[in-house]
Symmetry: D2
Amino acid sequence: MSSSTDSGPTRSAASTAPPTRLAIGVDVGGTKVAAGVVDERGHILGSVRRPTPGHEPRLVADTIAEVVGELQVRHATGPATPIGIGAAGWLDRDGARVMFAPNLAGWRDEPLRDIISARLGRPVVVDNDANTMAWAEYRFGAGRGCTELCCVTVGTGIGSGLVLDGKVRHGAFGVGAEYGHMQVVPAGLPCGCGSQGCWEQYASGRALVRHAREITGSSPEAGRSLLALAGGDLARLTGPDVTAAAREGDPAAVKCFEEVGHWLGQGLASLASVLDPARFVIGGGVSDAGELLLGPARAQFRCALAGRGHRPEAEIVLAELGPDAGFVGAADLARAGTVGRA
Amino acid sequence: MSSSTDSGPTRSAASTAPPTRLAIGVDVGGTKVAAGVVDERGHILGSVRRPTPGHEPRLVADTIAEVVGELQVRHATGPATPIGIGAAGWLDRDGARVMFAPNLAGWRDEPLRDIISARLGRPVVVDNDANTMAWAEYRFGAGRGCTELCCVTVGTGIGSGLVLDGKVRHGAFGVGAEYGHMQVVPAGLPCGCGSQGCWEQYASGRALVRHAREITGSSPEAGRSLLALAGGDLARLTGPDVTAAAREGDPAAVKCFEEVGHWLGQGLASLASVLDPARFVIGGGVSDAGELLLGPARAQFRCALAGRGHRPEAEIVLAELGPDAGFVGAADLARAGTVGRA
Amino acid sequence: MSSSTDSGPTRSAASTAPPTRLAIGVDVGGTKVAAGVVDERGHILGSVRRPTPGHEPRLVADTIAEVVGELQVRHATGPATPIGIGAAGWLDRDGARVMFAPNLAGWRDEPLRDIISARLGRPVVVDNDANTMAWAEYRFGAGRGCTELCCVTVGTGIGSGLVLDGKVRHGAFGVGAEYGHMQVVPAGLPCGCGSQGCWEQYASGRALVRHAREITGSSPEAGRSLLALAGGDLARLTGPDVTAAAREGDPAAVKCFEEVGHWLGQGLASLASVLDPARFVIGGGVSDAGELLLGPARAQFRCALAGRGHRPEAEIVLAELGPDAGFVGAADLARAGTVGRA
Amino acid sequence: MSSSTDSGPTRSAASTAPPTRLAIGVDVGGTKVAAGVVDERGHILGSVRRPTPGHEPRLVADTIAEVVGELQVRHATGPATPIGIGAAGWLDRDGARVMFAPNLAGWRDEPLRDIISARLGRPVVVDNDANTMAWAEYRFGAGRGCTELCCVTVGTGIGSGLVLDGKVRHGAFGVGAEYGHMQVVPAGLPCGCGSQGCWEQYASGRALVRHAREITGSSPEAGRSLLALAGGDLARLTGPDVTAAAREGDPAAVKCFEEVGHWLGQGLASLASVLDPARFVIGGGVSDAGELLLGPARAQFRCALAGRGHRPEAEIVLAELGPDAGFVGAADLARAGTVGRA
């Protein structure tokens, strides 16, 4: 139920530079807690992973204490090592309280930061997990050097982060950069946020699986591969199943990515009208499909971009850091103190 | 065809403070050029107005030279008086070129700033007119003291400006804060920007008049007042006609504002998911209707806000500076140099 | 748990005409079984009502046998009395099998007619319950004399029936006149039929309650009356609560009817483009609100009608027969044999 | 500017049956008037074609008189030969007046039948052109033997006809079967009928060309073939150009058909919920693309069909009679007198 790794020589030992200041990052998601020791160049010296022990904040704090303790022992980091947390919830402006979590029933106005600090006996920095991912990509990944950067994490839902002028932007109340809740379909699908027609209902892993089930339900022969991947039970079909089928060229699975990619690109075009970033970095599990997702997204982005042809177009690129980005960015934000926050 | 005013004692003479540094602002819209001399507190010492002489940039520059000359003579401002221009187009990041103007057929990649500078024989600062309005409201109006401010100008279309941390944000390529081109209806009404379903097709003066015509066309008795205001010819019905009727309680006109206000609030809710500002300032001609517009907008905003009840809500307030805001903000941005730009 | 009534002199005794041929009708809904003895003028001589005993067809047949037996004894009808059933499911062309029931999980390809016939020991006629209501309104209610008639039953969902040239139309496979499943919102709300954006998700009692909850959730003061009617628990709010509040002028409740009425009228306009009926008869529990529903429906119908002003407009009227229409029509269809079917 | 043909032996001379009763049919469209002599088996003995001389009814009547005269002389038909007209407008219930024509600006409440009858000196039968096509397909083409038949003519707009129990259905006021004006997108594209979001804005040749222009405008390389077909001028791109490119496998053109086919299938699914026909016959110029259109239409039909998997599915087949169907059906309806009308 838990795993730990130490990065081999390839990632960390090649350098003979002087020892850099380490930090510990923790990524608290709905199903797993991942943590790692990260150096100033974003290299992961070691990491550990646990299932999330329910959503009760004190249990979560216990698990965080465990993984942090394990990493500290293993890597002999001292008590001054900065600790950063990325959490799947909407935090207030100070990163002190989780106000709401559309995809976690239990978190409503929880003083998460103080609970964790008390448990660890030292201060921690907490930010939204998509923000920490965005920060990681900005510092060490596909967003390097970009002063106006939008990151979109396409997983079960959509997470998002905005980095402007070298700072993660949080909005006035901490809930900025929740792009997934732009309304893209009036009177559309209900969302966990309490509204309808949110982007994350159409451009996410959830949508991918919904399309796959619809196709398979309406055209059994078209969906045969998908059904087989789900062991004959559509209810068990997952996003990675659809990705696997699409990679092998299954037309039904490819079509699912076209549909989700279409909505992804449409939403990016709306974001371009609001923020006009230089680059969109697309991460999250669904982006493992690469061009299967980004191809249709770019096509619709160009088609829907206001004033297309008369303005420079933002790049749309894949994230580079993978699923560890959440704790890498959290570690780096903690090390940076408040430098990276706005 | 032209008019000029000098502000009376109420606005400018009360202060005995030392003379403040003056600036000249010019607002270049599709139908009129308005300009004024503005002091450091945002007071207008004098203003002048001309019809826009077609959309040819050189003709526009001639008119700008005329109004600036007239103001300089009248107010004895020196050659060092900063001059700022707010223009109804999408400017590049430096404010040098108009790349595109969804509502002005003629402007495509025009070096507007250099044309005007050459004509005046001195440097000018150029920004989008909705940005200069936003800046004016931030400095002297309904946005004072707000560090995360969205301004939405509801006129024939929708203009918009974003002020963060005391700077107008332009995005990476200069086209940030064109909220009017978020898509709110998939496969919806065509827009001058080349896309479909843009917010400005649903939450603008154009939409107000469209609804008024629809109601009047389908229910002559319901639309009798509106038809009378249009002199019996629906094609001549204007936004101010609908406002006038709504103010007198005409149910059809009130319904038009409910519809436009609904879409306005819906779009603001999406903006809150992207930007999470502390305040929305709503200006433009349609906002003259006050609560007739803002009431329905606030209702739908609260109804559509993601996570409502679990987060602080942005204020939605009326702009305070009226139609002069465009040149007031342009003047102040010019005086500030690059301080207010990002 | 059961109730029975005998109609008083007002409804049935006034006539001294020769005894007319009686028939028994049974209306099988998701929550109740209602049955009555009906004469040739549509008068109800007596009726009885039971809760639906689960959705298992054999249990339903038992209940039908009970209520039919009770009515036969009480009204001394003979073994030749025709028996008609209206059932809340999609029947095949012959009325033999229930193929599907979007709002009843249990019925999938059930030979309902044979099960009931076997249980009663005699033939029965089975039709969709909205079709039997439509037939009742055509024969004895608001649809009298209308040769092109659409009935729309606005209850929890939407039921519908089409009577052309004196016959209930069933389509080629029995599933004609399921208007509630026209798509009115692309990528819209999920429906029990397996599709998205169906009319019955927007113009039904379910939508009424959804809007009421949204308003109350987002504006507690606006929804105070509604919340009080629900005993402080939004989850317990019902359609009749909203109707009661709207009748007393509660603005939030009135707004809910405006929204549902808007969608009702919009769908009727689409039906006019397909069927061009002379009259729409609107029944079902939500229509108890009368003009609160029909006013906004008529307004939107006129606004959305293709070619409005250049064509005659269908009437939109309330049903006249109330909740008994289901068994009244079933009885009459059984008496008519196959005369009323196409 | 005009052309005439006599059908060769293949179509008409093979039979040695006794001479059948001939009729003359005329199809009056927005750009051409086509007419032919048609026998009882639907064979065309000869035909003639002229450009439509403006939309003034009397000029149209002159052209009709010319083409009828020419056919009468050439085929020696007598004065009793029935004459039927199919016209691109909305006729009243009796086929006497054109009430409205969404795609012809000039026709508003025109007594077309009497004008033509007066000009010819004999009675004529007039029906909507899509109805006459539907009748032709029912009698001689892809709709033979089908008692519940929907025909959809996908040309610049969408025409439609409904044949039930061997009769063309006209609705209560003559405007039945104008499926093209179902609303499929709330607040969608404006339509010539005065409403918004009509099906014919999304599933027609007009939509095909719109998509082609969008793709070409946003991705010049993707649209290269299309642009070449349009001679380098997007404004001149036509539906047949897109069909030609799609047939040669051009991905952009294929994608246009996927989009239009998607909307076609979606609308057919809604029609199945209203009418539940046994068969949809798809004709019109866009259907020349065959499976390029019908493949995506069938896929979306199955995906969107309410209760899919629990009900028989209507066939979706191509029309068989081509562009002559309009006058073939008009001739046959005239021969049949009122038999085929309801």
